[in-house]
Symmetry: C2
Subunit: 127 residues, 2 copies
DNA sequence: TATGTAATGTTATAATATAACAAACTGAGT
DNA sequence: ACTCAGTTTGTTATATTATAACATTACATA
């Protein structure tokens, strides 16, 4: 487990402090005071952070969240609920779903590398 | 079930003829000969077509596919495998997964509106 | 025909993401 | 310490994806 570089630390830190998902440009704006200037600096850090599963991308929102969910590091399965009213995103453990998907995809001769499950709807608070 | 408008027909037709997923701009380029000029014409058609589930968006690719999968109209659950080698996309039926997700999310007090499951990996052909 | 809803066309612009290339840093092996 | 390979960085420019705003037209139906 390699140490993070400065830019990676900065990006991760911003994401961890944020209550919400952030776009790459949201992150960039937060980090301008630290000297970051170009989107690529953020995107590159995000790429690495996703590689080591400290950050996930919400594909349907083009946004990023940090992941403290220990069980998820080393897993290739992430699942999120996204509330369409309040915007709250919640990562939840989907082990049963993961197992089922794996079985099914093996049945179809497909080798899973990474899975994104994004569920849009209404959260308990907003109902 | 309302009839489709001209633009919606055109967009759906292009997608159905295509062996692959297409970006909105891919579609636009195919339809320039029919007189379409602006991205919005395509995006608006796509929006409607997705609403009535004749088209799905692959969130992780920012691309669109048509859906002939009868069982899926009226469902709020779509699942895709995406081969990272050849790019082939396959929609598969994930009823079991859907049921499981529904049970689990209900447990967490979340009301599902729409779910995207996108699995990246290697297809049988490419293994 | 009046009326409301939906769809259209158009221009402009916002938001998201990557290409290309030179330079600096890092770590392992010698 | 030296060097080599690999990674990370900084930077400018550009590609790709998506929406805003607004005037206009089509269309069903009461």
């Amino acid at each position: 487990m390699k140490a993070l570089t400065r830019n990676q630390e900065l990006v991760l830190d911003v994401l961890q402090r944020s209550a919400r998902q952030m776009s790459a440009y949201d992150i960039l704006d937060k980090l301008r005071p630290e000297g970051l200037k170009a989107p690529l600096q953020v995107y590159r850090a995000l790429e690495k952070l996703m590689e080591i599963q400290l950050v996930h991308k919400l594909e349907s929102l083009n946004a990023f969240v940090s992941c403290n969910h220990k069980s998820c590091h080393g897993s290739d399965m992430t699942a999120f609920t996204i509330c369409q009213d309040c915007g709250a995103v919640n990562e939840f453990s989907a082990d049963g779903v993961a197992a089922l998907l794996k079985r099914q995809s093996v049945g179809e001769g497909f080798k899973i590398y990474q899975t994104a499950i994004e569920i849009k709807g209404t959260c308990a608070r907003c109902m």
